[in-house]
């Protein structure tokens, strides 16, 4: 196990460091903003007890909202990426820092406060030389709690494209890659411990020195940021995002390579594991993301309104989806690739032989089989509910589970039936049998890049580059690439590039 961990670290060292740095950056900015808001607020409200109590209540209420929900609530206002992540972290950490500062400042021995008043010192002197120093241990412990919380919660930033160590945790969960999961989780924990230790060590240092230190850090940080910004080439950056998983990651890396090869003035930023369908679609609408690969089936089932049923002819389905996206959302849907990544019902070879299962219809006779579905599949109309009606299925036990776990559960015999994607590498790995969809219930799922019309018009070169993939990549090729990334843990960028070069779509 440690061997594979070592190899993983050796292969991904740079990216890991980059994520770590991103994590530190997000956390530090969030912590700094929180401190700048919470401490002066506590000072201002010091002589307005009711106001102080009120803010305390509000901050505690915010804290009870799950962090994911805060992220979701913020998207319509501030979009996705680092900014909303930082805002959410700030909202979260305000409570411990504010409440500790406030109670630290208000719980000073009243005799000392009377003494200060009786000496006739100025308000400023009283605040900075007496109240703050006396409240400092409380304030620092509040900051400690806040910072540890920020570092922990910052792992969620990955969900909305904020980057950081959460990327590895998400990647680990999605692709069942323990190495990635371990690296993300351990580094985040270590980071939290180190930060907590540093702040604790600061409690022995005088305020003057802390103040000077913070100032120096701020100036250095600002300077570094300024120089960095000044040195950056003035090219346009476009963001290409993909849903969770290995396959979208391979595709967006292909997009990146193709676009950058043909358009030297464009810089493509890849955001992998960027979230679910609705999330990405909204991100595209609000121009947070410029391009992402979407399946025709998904467009027809979940994104656009159509009066007719979904066609089972791939070409018709694509045309319908394209027209609907164009009319209803002013989006351009480029030509799809060849392979189909549709849903299918999968059973193990033994189960198939034992019950003589060949088509989905055969399942109707065996309600005793244990079924396990991905949560989306279990709920969507084009998933289990529709399938149940179409084929008269009636499983007694249905579980919902993480897509990455269901194959293993099937192989272990804990499940008998599950939903699968036709290009999933595990189909090959576990030698699964895909049951025939005789009623053509599952709509065709062909992948193609989607973008706003305005963007496509402004960047004709991009469409041209991406159209090189039209009609390319067979189901078998995709399955193989997925196998390399998900099972063998090869880097998606490498796999994508190798394929493009092999196909002559990209010069070496």
């Amino acid at each position: 196990m440690f061997d594979s961990l070592n190899t993983y670290i050796a292969e991904n060292g740079n990216e890991i460091l980059l994520s770590l740095w991103q994590h530190i950056e997000i956390s530090a900015i969030a912590a700094l903003i929180t401190i700048i808001i919470a401490i002066p607020l506590a000072v201002v409200l010091l002589n307005h007890r009711r106001g102080g109590e009120f803010v305390l209540q509000v901050a505690s209420v915010i804290q009870t909202i799950p962090s994911l929900a805060i992220l979701g609530l913020l998207i319509p206002f501030v979009g996705i990426g680092t900014v909303p992540a930082i805002i959410a972290l700030v909202l979260y950490a305000i409570m411990p820092i504010f409440s500790n500062t406030y109670s630290g400042l208000t719980n000073i021995d009243p005799v000392l406060m009377e003494a200060a008043d009786a000496m006739g010192v100025s308000k400023r002197y009283k605040l900075f030389r007496i109240q703050f120093p006396l409240a400092m241990p409380m304030i620092l412990s509040g900051i400690r709690i806040g910072v540890v919380m920020i570092i922990g919660t910052a792992t969620l930033a990955a969900l909305i494209g904020g980057g950081g160590l959460g990327t590895y945790i998400l990647l680990g969960i999605q692709s069942n890659n323990n190495n990635a999961l371990l690296i993300g989780a351990v580094l985040a924990a270590v980071l939290a411990l180190v930060a907590s230790w540093i702040i604790k060590a600061l409690s022995g240092v005088s305020i003057k020195k802390i103040g000077i230190g913070v100032l120096v850090l701020a100036i250095l940080g600002g300077a570094a940021y300024g120089i960095n910004a000044a040195l950056k080439p003035k090219t346009e950056t476009i963001i290409v995002a993909g849903k969770m998983g290995g396959e979208p990651e391979i595709l967006i890396n292909m997009y990146k390579d193709l676009i950058e090869a043909d358009n030297p003035n464009l810089n493509v930023e890849v955001k992998r594991n960027f979230g679910g369908t609705t999330f990405l679609f909204k991100a595209l609408q609000s121009d947070q993301v410029q391009i992402y690969p979407e399946f025709t089936g998904t467009v027809l089932q979940s994104l656009v309104k159509t009066d007719q049923g979904v066609s089972h002819n791939p070409e018709t389905a694509y045309q319908t989806a394209k027209t609907a996206l164009s009319k209803q959302f002013k989006m351009t849907y480029l030509e799809p690739m060849k392979y189909q990544n549709g849903y299918a019902m999968a059973v193990s070879k033994e189960t198939a032989e034992k019950y003589n299962l060949k088509t989905v219809a055969d399942l109707a006779a065996h309600p005793e089989l244990v079924a396990g579905f991905d949560a989306d599949f279990y709920q969507q109309n084009d998933g289990y509910p529709g399938l149940k009606e179409a084929y008269g299925l009636n499983f007694e036990t249905v579980r919902t589970m993480e897509p990455s776990l269901r194959y293993e559960a099937l192989a272990d015999g804990k499940l008998d039936v599950t939903d699968a994607y036709t290009t999933d590498p595990q189909v090959k790995k576990y030698d699964l049998v895909l049951l025939e969809d005789t009623k053509s219930f599952f709509p065709p799922y062909q992948g193609a890049p989607v973008m706003m019309k305005s963007f496509a018009k402004k960047h004709p070169g991009v469409s041209k580059s991406l159209n090189k993939l039209a009609g390319k990549i067979t189901t078998k090729q995709m399955q193989e690439m997925n196998y390399k990334v998900t099972v063998e843990h090869e880097k998606a960028a490498t796999v994508a590039r190798e394929f493009l070069v092999e196909q002559g779509l990209l010069k070496k």
């Binding site: 000392l112 009377e114 009786a118 000496m119 010192v121 030389r129 006396l134």
Partner: protein, 323 residues
């Protein structure tokens, strides 16, 4: 001169002070004494506006404190609290110099002044200036508290039960220090205490406060010998104090009434010869003893009673040892 004119302080529904009028003279060591909750501390705090009267007026040298610049008033008024109340994050020197710093004194001048005052309160500057309050004993903290109050050389020093938390020995030493400082400086001290022995020991004049009202005003002697009411009598009702007064000697049944002595030859002779020293009931047995030391045969008359030197011995012999 500090004047309280019809000062009333109302908290919620309860009166802490009721229409209280009082004058404190310049250079006095004036003690406000009374049980806890009597309003004496509130009265003290009105002088530097830590408390504000609900009605009435407090003035210093004819100027209403409500109209004075608050910071200026406080920077020129010494204030000593219970337990010293030094700021735990500052050294002794910083603590002691806080008013001077507020007044804008230079660091070197501040240092000189503090060193001088440290010596005055019997603390070695070398040893103590760099210490933190946590490294001081209760008595030492309170000495620093006194240095802090004296630093700006104020004309007025307010002390709020400064020695109530100290052990008896430190308390006694610090009381002596206060008496000593008061004798040296032309400063008015206003001292609050609930300890009537401390009040008697320190006060030039004292005011007995109870339930927000002035019960009696005068020197310790005046109050002890002629309590204005039951409360004052009970408040000062302490064997070791009461025993000091001639009236207690008489009340103990010693000596002989003048009417009776007329048949006594010796006494008659004395009266006839006029060799009797009259003493007041409020005089103490110590002044009687001093008299007897000079004139071993001296007979004294307290009101209608004649006392011989032998009565002094008899009185002291029957007195129980003070606890």
């Amino acid at each position: 001169m500090i004047e309280f004119k019809n000062v009333t302080k109302t908290y919620e529904t309860e009166d802490a002070l009721k229409e209280l009028t009082l004058t404190i003279n310049d250079g006095e060591l004036f003690v406000l004494v009374g049980p806890s909750g009597s309003g004496k501390t509130t009265l003290l705090k009105m002088i530097n506006r830590l408390a504000v009267p609900t009605s009435g007026e407090v003035s210093i040298d004819g100027q209403n404190v409500a109209e004075m610049d608050l910071e200026n008033l406080r920077r020129h008024t010494g204030y000593v609290l219970q337990t010293g109340a030094l700021f735990p994050n500052m050294t002794v020197e910083q603590n002691a110099g806080i008013q001077l710093e507020a007044l804008g004194w230079e660091a070197t001048k501040r240092h000189q002044r503090i060193v001088e005052l440290m010596k005055r309160v019997d603390l070695d500057p070398e040893l103590f200036l760099k210490r933190l309050p946590s490294e001081l004993s209760g008595g030492e903290s309170q000495r620093i508290g006194i240095v802090r109050a004296l630093a700006s050389n104020p004309k007025l020093i307010l002390m709020d039960e400064p020695f109530s938390a100290l052990d008896p020995l430190s308390k006694r030493q610090l009381q002596e220090l206060i008496l000593h400082l008061h004798a040296e400086l032309a400063t008015t001290f206003v001292f609050v205490t609930h300890d009537m022995r401390e009040a008697i020991r320190l006060a030039d004049r004292l005011a007995v406060i109870h339930n927000g009202e002035l019960q009696q005003l005068g020197s310790a002697k005046e109050i002890l010998s002629a309590p204005a009411n039951d409360f004052v009598r009970e408040f000062f009702d302490d064997d070791s104090i009461r025993r000091q007064f001639m009236q207690t000697v008489v009340a103990a049944g010693l000596g002989q009434p003048i009417t009776l002595v007329k048949t006594d030859r010796l006494a008659t002779d004395v009266i006839v010869s006029g060799d009797v020293v009259k003493m007041a009931a409020s005089d103490t047995i110590f002044s009687w003893a001093a008299l007897v030391k000079q004139h071993p045969q001296q007979v004294v008359q307290v009101e209608e009673t004649l006392l011989k030197p032998a009565d002094l011995i008899a009185y002291l012999a029957q007195a129980k040892e003070a606890k």
